[in-house]
C-alpha cells in the first residue's frame, strides 16, 4: 500500500479536480483524503470514552441512549399573554423546555413607555417591563417543573430577579428553580451588541449573578457562554470556538479572583453554539470545544469536580444561513445543521423556522422545525450510537486542527491580558468584521455558493404567510405600564432602588437588592437607569 503522500503524488494527481476551491464554509482548505497518518492522537488523552475526560466523545456516558437532547424552541412576541399562548402550544406539541425571546426595549433596558422603545415594543420578542409581565408570561406553566431559558444579557440581572421572585410567589422555592439566563456580556461587545455600561462593570454584574446563583439558586445556569452570536456576526468557525472559550475563561477567572471555589459555580456554566451548514466543520467544532474546555478547567483552574470540566451546550441552527429566496430550502438547511448538532453531541437544540428571515415564524413553520428534531431523534437512528463520527480520519483531523487554530487565538488573547482587555481594544470585533467582509466578497465572486441566491436563482414572489403583530399592542402595553407605575408604593420603591445604587458603589452583590426592588415593582428600565447613572453608558466605537 502506498503512503498518503505517495498516493497524493502518484495516484490522485492523475485525476482532474472540479475547478472549485475545496475549503470549509469558514474557508479552511480541506485535503482530498485523511488517513491514519493524519490522526496521531492518543485515544485516552485526546478522546476518552463518553462521559470521561476530556469529553471529546460526549459529556455523558449514555448520551442519547440515556436521554434525548432537550428540544427547546426560542419563542416570544407581543405582550406576555401572546407568548404565554405560544409557550403552551409548544409544550402541547411535545417540546420539553421553554426559551424566551424578549423585544429590543427589554433587551436594552428600556421600559415600554420610554421614547426609545417607540415602534419596537413586542416586535422582535416579548415585552417585559415589570414582574407583572413575568407573571403573565408563565401563567399556568409550572415554574418548578419546566426549565426556562431566557435570552437576555445587559438587563439580565433584572429579569433573573423577576423570574426568581415570581417563582417564589407561586410557591416554588429557589432551590428548585432550574433554567438558564444567557447573561454573556462579553459576546455582546463583540457580536450581539446589546449593552448598557462599559465592559468592566458589565463583567462585574455577570459575576455577581454567578455568585448569587451558586449560593441561592444552585440549579439555575447563570451564564450561557455563547458562540452563536459571534458566528452570526460573521466570524469563522474557528473564531467562534476561540472567542467563546476565551469569554468563558474570563468569567471563570473573574469569579475565581473573588475567592469563589471553581467547583462551586463551574458545573452550572453552559454554552451555546451556532450550527452552520458546513457539516463536518460543525461536528469538529463541537467536539474540539468540549476537549478544550475540559483541559482549561482542569489544568488552568484546578477544577476537581468532573462536572466543572464538562462543556454542556445548547445549539441553534444558523439564522444567518437562511434565505429569503426560495424559503422552503431553509427546511433542508435546518435539518442538515441540526443533524450536525446531534452528531456533535449537544444537550439542547433549537431548529430555526423556514420563514425567519422574513419575520417571526408562524405556528405552522415552528411545527415543521420542531418535527425536524423529532425526525432526527426518532427516525434516523443516529441516536443509537454515541459519537458515531468519532474515529473518522477526516473528523478527528479537523477536530485537532480547529483546536490548534483556536488555541492560537486564545494564546494571543492571553498575551493581551485576557478577553476583557482584548475587547476594550477591539481585537475580536475587528477579526469578526474582517471575516464577515471576506465571506461576503467570496459570495459575490461565486467562490462560495448559497443555493437560490447566487446560484440556481429563479424569478419568484415570496409566498410565505408571515406573522403580523397587532399595531395596537404597543399602546396597550404602554398604558398598562403607566397604570402600574401610578399604582405602586413609590416610597418603598425609591428606597429599594437607592439600595441597588448603593450596592453598585459598595461592591456588595447586586442581586439581593435587585430582588427586593422588583418585589416593589421596579422595572427593567429603572434598574438599567441605575446602571447608566452609576457605571456610565457604553458607546459603540463604530469600527469598520
Amino acid at each position: 500500500m502506498s503512503t498518503k503522500q505517495e498516493w497524493l503524488e502518484k495516484v490522485y494527481k492523475r485525476s482532474d479536480e472540479r475547478p472549485v476551491r475545496f475549503s470549509t464554509l469558514s474557508d479552511m482548505e480541506v485535503e482530498p483524503l485523511y488517513t491514519p497518518e493524519d490522526v496521531k492522537d492518543d485515544y485516552n488523552a485526546s478522546l476518552g470514552q463518553p462521559g470521561e475526560y476530556p469529553y471529546t466523545r460526549g459529556v455523558y456516558e449514555s448520551m442519547y441512549r440515556g436521554r434525548l437532547w432537550t428540544m427547546r424552541q426560542f419563542a416570544g412576541f407581543g405582550l406576555a399573554e401572546d407568548t404565554n399562548e405560544r409557550f403552551r402550544f409548544l409544550l402541547a406539541q411535545g417540546q420539553d423546555g421553554l426559551s424566551t425571546a424578549f423585544d429590543m426595549p427589554t433587551l436594552m433596558g428600556y421600559d415600554a413607555d420610554h421614547e426609545r422603545s417607540m415602534g419596537e415594543v413586542g416586535r422582535e420578542g416579548v415585552n417585559v417591563t415589570s414582574i407583572h409581565d413575568v407573571a403573565r408570561l408563565f401563567d399556568q406553566i409550572p415554574m418548578g417543573k419546566v426549565s426556562t431559558s431566557m435570552t437576555v444579557n445587559c438587563s439580565a440581572s433584572a429579569l433573573l430577579a423577576m423570574y426568581l421572585v415570581q417563582a417564589e410567589r407561586t410557591g416554588v422555592p429557589w432551590s428548585q428553580v432550574s433554567g438558564t439566563i444567557q447573561n454573556d456580556m462579553l459576546k455582546e461587545f463583540t457580536a450581539q451588541k446589546e449593552w448598557i455600561c462599559p465592559p468592566a462593570p458589565s463583567l462585574r454584574i455577570v459575576t455577581d449573578m454567578v455568585e448569587f446563583c451558586a449560593k441561592k439558586a444552585p440549579r439555575f445556569h447563570p451564564v450561557s457562554i455563547s458562540g452563536y452570536h459571534i458566528r452570526e456576526a460573521g466570524s469563522t468557525a474557528v473564531q467562534e470556538l476561540a472567542f467563546t472559550i476565551a469569554d468563558g475563561l474570563c468569567y471563570v477567572q473573574d469569579a475565581v479572583s473573588r475567592g469563589i471555589d471553581v467547583d462551586d459555580f463551574a458545573p452550572r456554566l453552559s454554552f451555546f453554539w451556532d450550527l452552520h451548514s458546513d457539516f463536518l466543520e460543525e461536528v469538529a467544532k463541537l467536539r474540539a470545544g468540549r476537549r478544550m474546555w475540559a483541559r482549561f478547567m482542569k489544568e488552568r483552574f484546578g477544577a476537581k469536580n468532573p462536572r466543572s470540566m464538562m462543556l454542556r451546550t445548547h445549539a441553534q441552527t444558523a439564522g444567518v444561513s437562511l434565505t429569503a429566496q426560495q424559503p422552503m430550502n431553509n427546511i433542508v438547511r435546518v435539518a442538515i445543521q441540526a443533524l450536525a448538532g446531534v452528531l456533535g453531541g449537544v444537550q439542547s437544540l433549537h431548529t430555526n423556522s423556514m420563514d425567519e428571515t422574513l419575520a417571526l415564524p408562524t405556528e405552522q413553520s415552528v411545527m415543521v422545525a420542531l418535527r425536524t428534531q423529532q425526525i432526527i431523534a426518532e427516525e434516523t437512528g443516529v441516536t443509537n450510537t454515541i459519537d458515531p463520527l468519532g474515529g473518522s480520519y477526516a473528523v478527528e483531523a479537523l477536530t485537532d486542527r480547529m483546536e490548534r487554530e483556536a488555541m492560537d487565538y486564545i494564546n494571543k488573547i492571553d498575551e493581551m491580558g485576557g478577553m476583557l482587555k482584548a475587547i476594550e481594544v477591539g481585537y475580536p470585533q475587528r477579526e469578526i468584521a474582517e471575516a464577515a467582509f471576506l465571506y461576503q466578497r467570496q459570495l459575490e465572486q461565486g467562490v462560495k455558493t448559497v443555493v437560490g441566491v447566487n446560484k440556481y436563482s429563479i424569478p419568484e414572489e415570496i409566498p410565505i404567510e408571515v406573522l403580523k403583530i397587532d399595531p395596537l399592542m404597543e399602546e396597550r402595553q404602554i398604558q398598562r405600564v403607566r397604570k402600574m407605575k401610578r399604582e405602586r408604593n413609590s416610597t418603598a420603591l425609591k428606597e429599594a432602588l437607592k439600595r441597588v445604587a448603593e450596592a453598585c458603589r459598595s461592591g456588595e452583590n447586586l442581586m439581593g437588592p435587585i430582588c427586593d426592588a422588583v418585589r416593589q415593582d421596579a422595572t427593567v428600565g429603572e434598574i438599567s437607569d441605575i446602571y447608566r447613572a452609576e457605571f456610565g453608558v457604553y458607546k459603540d466605537p463604530g469600527w469598520i
Binding site: P105, R116, E120, K193, A359, A436, K539, G542, I544
Partner: protein
Amino acid sequence: MAEKRLRILVAKPGLDGHDRGAKIIARALRDGGFEVIYTGLHQTPEMIAEAAVQEDVDAVGLSILSGAHMTLFPEVIRLLTERGAGDVSVFGGGIIPDEDSNKLKTLGVKQVFTPGASTEDIVKWVRENVQPRD
C-alpha cells in the same frame, strides 16, 4: 474637472445590534471610492439627522433589521427636512417586505435593498443615483 467625492453616512438606527450588514456596506462603499462615515449602533433618528447635517453628507443609508422601518425611515426624513437637509438622499436596507418598501418609496425613501442584494448593486446604485449637494 475632478468630481467631488460623495459623502455617505451609514447609520444604524434602533435598539438592535445587527451591524454585520451596515459594516459590510460601509466598507464596500469606502472601497467603492466614497467618503463614508459610520455612526455606530443604537442611534436615534435625531442623532442620525444631526450627524448628517454636521458631516454635510450627500446621502444617508439606513440599515434596519428590527421591523421598525415604518417608524424610523419617515422620522429620519422628517428631521432632515426640518434641518434644511431634505435634499439628502435617504436609502436603506434590511428585512423589509415589498408592500412596506413601496410605501416607503412614496414617503421619500430613494431605494430599499433587501436580503440578497450585493454590495456591488448598492455601490452601483449610489454611484448612479446620488447627486452631490451644493
